[in-house]
């Protein structure tokens, strides 16, 4: 009596397929909803990812680098007294590391520029002109003039807004004023050689760039620097590099900060965008889930009698459950694949030229964004989208399948 036989998988698949085709319009509408939902999701998520990556890269490459090494306390004090006295020790660690694409040494301090009657507060940044080009794209922002010459030349580059504010032009003699580590106020004459537009307004408004050696001489700092800035060869290396330096330099009076630590606002903004992306996913997934649930429940209702007959003639409840679940899964897989396919094609199409949002460009600049967003398909987001949709849709399929096993034959057969 207990010879519980199984239906073959092909029997289930064929039953499920036919049941889906039984009401082609309804199945079509459900599929269309899924395709629309998942394609939209893919596109939005690709835009979000593209935008986040752009923003992150712009932030890292415009100024910050992936990792900065300072003397302990410098990030909060911004005081020249907190400087690295023997940068050679650190630089030894950087050379020949395949995880590092480039590094540079900098001195940062606040100061004043003045030309004629006008002056402006600036962030004086001294860097190795050659090394800097390995780390950031600052040199690409050159609007006028030329890049810094190495050595102790008195070359000066200004952010475009600073230059405009004091009315400076290429070749002008400009007085820089700042404080030495010992507190003494000093001033020096520099020659404006170039004007920079980095795309980040807060930099363009405050930057005064001079050669490292000139600054070291001017501030009487010898070999000392305030920052060693590192660009990792790939973004993913950041965490492991930070860990390495922490280990190797521990106890030497250093602080090792990754880009996220250097601008909490940017990090918060990135985290917010990430959460926002998740919310979009959840909303669309809820939509898809409701749609499948709805279709399956209506189908279940219509087929109540037939399911009752199937149970009466010897179909086990587990078989009914499995049959309906397979129906839902087929619908989900088809809708998911088509939806992701359509979304992927849309992304491919758009990533050719990107989406031009120059109209809002001014608002975006604060967030290190380019006005043209290139959508980006990442494995991460694909897994997230397809995974969430699958799980949700499966849940939406499980419920009606479970409901079907609760069908009372005697009730469903009561024309009987």
């Amino acid at each position: 009596m207990s010879n519980a036989k199984r239906l073959s998988l092909t029997a289930y698949l064929s039953l499920a397929l036919r049941n889906l085709l039984r009401n082609p319009r309804r199945t079509g509408i459900t599929l269309a909803t899924m395709i629309f939902g998942i394609a939209t999701l893919t596109l939005l998520s690709a835009l979000n990812d593209g935008w986040l990556e752009q923003m992150r890269d712009n932030f890292i490459l415009s100024f910050t680098g992936h990792i900065q090494i300072h003397a302990s306390g410098f990030e909060s004090s911004q005081n020249l007294n907190d400087h690295i006295k023997a940068p050679g020790e650190v630089i030894l660690l950087l050379q020949d590391s395949p995880e590092i694409q480039g590094w540079t040494q900098r001195i940062r301090t606040s100061g004043l520029v003045s030309l004629g009657g006008s002056s402006a507060g600036v962030q004086i940044m001294a860097t190795d002109p050659e090394q800097e080009t390995w780390v950031t794209h600052m040199h690409r922002g050159l609007k006028q003039g030329r890049w810094l010459n190495p050595g102790t030349s008195h070359d000066l580059l200004l952010g475009i807004t600073v230059a405009q504010n004091i009315g400076a032009e290429i070749g002008d003699r400009i007085v820089l004023m700042a404080q030495r580590p010992n507190g003494e106020m000093v001033s020096e004459i520099f020659f404006l050689r170039g004007i920079l537009e980095t795309g980040a307004p807060q930099i363009d408004r405050t930057l005064a760039l001079i050669p490292l050696n000139a600054a070291q001489a001017w501030f009487e700092m010898g070999e000392s620097v305030t920052d060693i800035v590192i660009r990792a060869s790939s973004h993913e290396n950041t965490a492991s590099l930070q860990l390495q330096f922490n280990r190797k330099l521990s106890g030497g009076g250093y602080e090792i900060l990754a880009w996220q630590d250097l601008d909490p606002m940017v990090r918060q903004w990135l985290e917010f965008s990430d959460a926002y992306g998740l919310i979009i996913i959840l909303v669309v997934v809820a939509l898809v889930l409701t749609e499948i649930l709805n279709t399956m429940l209506i189908a279940l209702h219509e087929r109540q009698k037939e399911l009752g007959i199937m149970i009466a003639i010897g179909t086990r409840k587990s078989q009914i459950f499995f049959m309906l679940l397979i129906e839902a899964v087929m619908l989900i897989l088809l809708g998911g694949a088509l939806g992701y396919g359509v979304g992927g094609l849309l992304v491919l199409h758009l990533s050719d030229g990107g989406i031009d949002l120059s109209y809002f460009a001014n608002a975006f600049k604060f967030f290190y964004m380019d006005p043209v967003i290139l959508p980006l398909l990442t494995l991460d987001s694909a897994t997230r989208i397809l995974g969430t949709t699958l799980v949700a849709a499966l849940l939406a399929g499980l419920y009606p399948a479970w409901r079907a096993t609760k069908i009372e034959i005697s009730q469903s057969l009561r024309t009987f």
């Binding site: 009596m1 036989k5 073959s8 005697s410």
Partner: protein, 281 residues
């Protein structure tokens, strides 16, 4: 669970009670039914609407439970079974013909029949062979590829009959199988059932209002208010009412088909289906 088969009864119902509850209101449907049906019988349950015919068939067919009493079908105590046991019991012992919506809509006539064979564990090819055989048996061989909605009501019922018999059941339960058919089609269906009963000795228990069905009965059991009121009334075997119009030729195939089925199923026969059952009188 299987009791020694020392009686000829295939269905024994004793003091069967069943009450439906609507909220806290009891609606007694069966009030102590006593009944015994022999192997190979062709019996009709008659009675007014609401007398409990469907309920009784449902309980005997292990579709519904009861409150009290005893129901032994083919040696097994139906009321003591759990859900899965009942499903398997139905699959292997009972063929059902319902009043309507008998067939699975997305499957063709042939697939509908093959489906139950597959439930019994046969592979596709074997199931299809049996389906073809039974389609021919109910004179539907030429329409096997059609879906239910491409068949007339009478044709659908024939397919349902073929499906009911395809699993080689001991008993076929039919609840108002002719109710949705016109008189003539109904008569033809009854004629078919009788012939199958003759040929294969399968026990038939049929509920109906239909006078033609009652005429066809070799035994009439009348229910009223959930009780058998005319117990064991046997009416003399009427000749098949429209035997000349019967679409089924009385093929001398009976023995061959049974052999074929026995070989196909390779299931030990515990029903005593030993050759053609002599027609009861």
């Amino acid at each position: 669970m299987i009791q020694p088969d020392n009686s000829s009864a295939i269905i024994t119902v004793k003091k069967l009670h069943k009450c439906y509850w609507v909220g806290s209101m009891p609606f007694p449907a069966l009030n102590g039914v006593n009944l015994s049906i022999d192997r190979g019988e062709f019996a009709v349950l008659a009675g007014r609407s609401g007398s409990g015919k469907s309920t009784l068939l449902n309980v005997i067919g292990a579709l519904e439970s009861a409150d009290n009493g005893e129901v032994i079908v083919n040696g097994e105590n139906i009321l003591g079974m759990n859900h899965t046991e009942r499903t398997l019991f139905r699959l292997h012992n009972i063929g059902f013909v319902f009043q309507s919506f008998n067939l699975i809509r997305v499957l063709s006539a042939r697939e509908n029949i093959a489906y139950v064979c597959q439930l019994q564990g046969m592979d596709k090819k074997e199931s299809e062979g049996i389906a073809d055989h039974w389609l021919n048996e109910v004179d539907m061989g030429h329409l096997g590829y059609r879906r239910p909605d491409q068949l007339s009501g009478g044709q659908q019922q024939r397919v349902a009959v073929a499906r009911a018999l395809a699993t080689n059941p001991k008993i076929v339960l039919a609840d108002e199988p002719t109710a949705n058919l016109d008189t003539q089609t109904g008569q033809r269906l009854m004629c078919l059932l009788q012939q199958l009963n003759d040929k294969f000795g399968t026990t038939f228990l049929i509920s109906s209002h239909d006078p033609d069905v009652k005429n066809a009965a070799r035994r009439l059991i009348k229910l009223a208010d959930g009780q058998v009121v005319r117990k064991w009334e046997k009416i003399p075997p009427a000749p098949p009412p429209i035997s000349k119009a019967c679409p089924i030729k009385n093929l001398p195939l009976a023995g061959r088909i049974r052999q074929f089925l026995r070989k196909k199923r390779k299931r030990p026969s515990k029903t005593g289906e030993k050759g053609p059952t002599p027609r009861r009188s």
